[in-house]
Symmetry: C2
Subunit: 248 residues, 2 copies
Amino acid sequence: MKRIKMIIEYDGSNYHGFQIQKNAHTVQAELEERIYELTGEGISISAAGRTDSGVHALGQVIAFDTVSTIPPAKWKFALNSLLPADIKVLKSCEVKKKFHPRFNAQKKRYSYFIYRSGSGQTFLKKYSFCTTEELDIGAMRKGCKIIEGRKNFQSFCASGSSAKSYDRFVSMCSLKEQGPFLVIDIEADGFLYHMVRIIVGTLLEVGRKNYSPMHIQEIIDACDRALAGPTALPNGLFLVKVFYPEDI
Amino acid sequence: MKRIKMIIEYDGSNYHGFQIQKNAHTVQAELEERIYELTGEGISISAAGRTDSGVHALGQVIAFDTVSTIPPAKWKFALNSLLPADIKVLKSCEVKKKFHPRFNAQKKRYSYFIYRSGSGQTFLKKYSFCTTEELDIGAMRKGCKIIEGRKNFQSFCASGSSAKSYDRFVSMCSLKEQGPFLVIDIEADGFLYHMVRIIVGTLLEVGRKNYSPMHIQEIIDACDRALAGPTALPNGLFLVKVFYPEDI
């Protein structure tokens, strides 16, 4: 029995999120079906992040046990030959038996893309929030700084979450301009349900001058989802990278 | 009777090119059907460039005659409400009766995108040629300079062309690096059948050091398609902009 770790990327546009569920096509179901086709094993995959419907991944990490004799580094090619065009294995290797992609993760990085040109939206609307409205970048940057740190993020957690604690450590929240894109990068040791999308929706309200960056501190202090901005659309969100300790 | 000019963008992935043909779905057919739905008129569209199957447009120009009372600037909104997500009108206005998008064009700009990262291809393979091979950028730039000017481009014209003359004036052929992309921009007063894709395929052979940039002059002088490189894949190609005299 070997434990295989894979880094995968996928276009989430045509999936009902990552996690397996009844009567809906998900990335996990697609992966497990293709592995069954390859080895005949009915395996169950663990993943670093359960991305929502329409959310994409450039560096999702998954792991599973197998008795197959396929060499670990060859899994990438074997599985890519069966996977549809919107899911791709970037790397495969063997890991320790105890490795769990979510529980062992030190932090994860998500990036949210905002596209600000009137031209080219036909190509980018599945992969970004497209808007030509004026946004106060300086104010949004101030808002990002207030998000950073270890705090209670209950105001940025959608209802229906089963989280036991709302404390999370956001080690980075930054905004960069890349040509016609605004990119919001967020790194944390863990994320609450819809946390990145509510943070982005709140930063957009700051960009629109609907409230000041300082108001974000009041939102955090209130521990009340109703005070934060709307949940940003899923299609601009990418799970970019998962970080692990070096000895895993 | 009014003559309407439109600037449109489209994702060519799901179309058999621009121009109308039997038993195949094309961008022109889609536009003409939606205009029929809107006004009941069986109009026929003229376009600046007849893009091939899989080729995209950021600034295709079309024109047609209509007796509809829709104000010219409102055509954009009326048609966008009926068009599928992969075709979008960026601008609509009235033009002189004699305006023809192809015959009046002074020059057109095409851009070809080459994506050079192993990560992210899932999102970009419909919109770029994805390759991680090493390319000699300096040699490709030298090759670009040899392409520029007024010359006989028969070596860069696919067979089956009905062109009367192979003389074209390439006013710009340049290569720029934009993050993980190489972008080849080509402007000319007209393009032969597959001309941009054969130029790109030839420049890629120079980048691979399969021949020197100077060999491009020999290819031009030979007036023989067999000597140039292979035709690059259509999906990296975009019709970016069409230029007209100011008084049109």
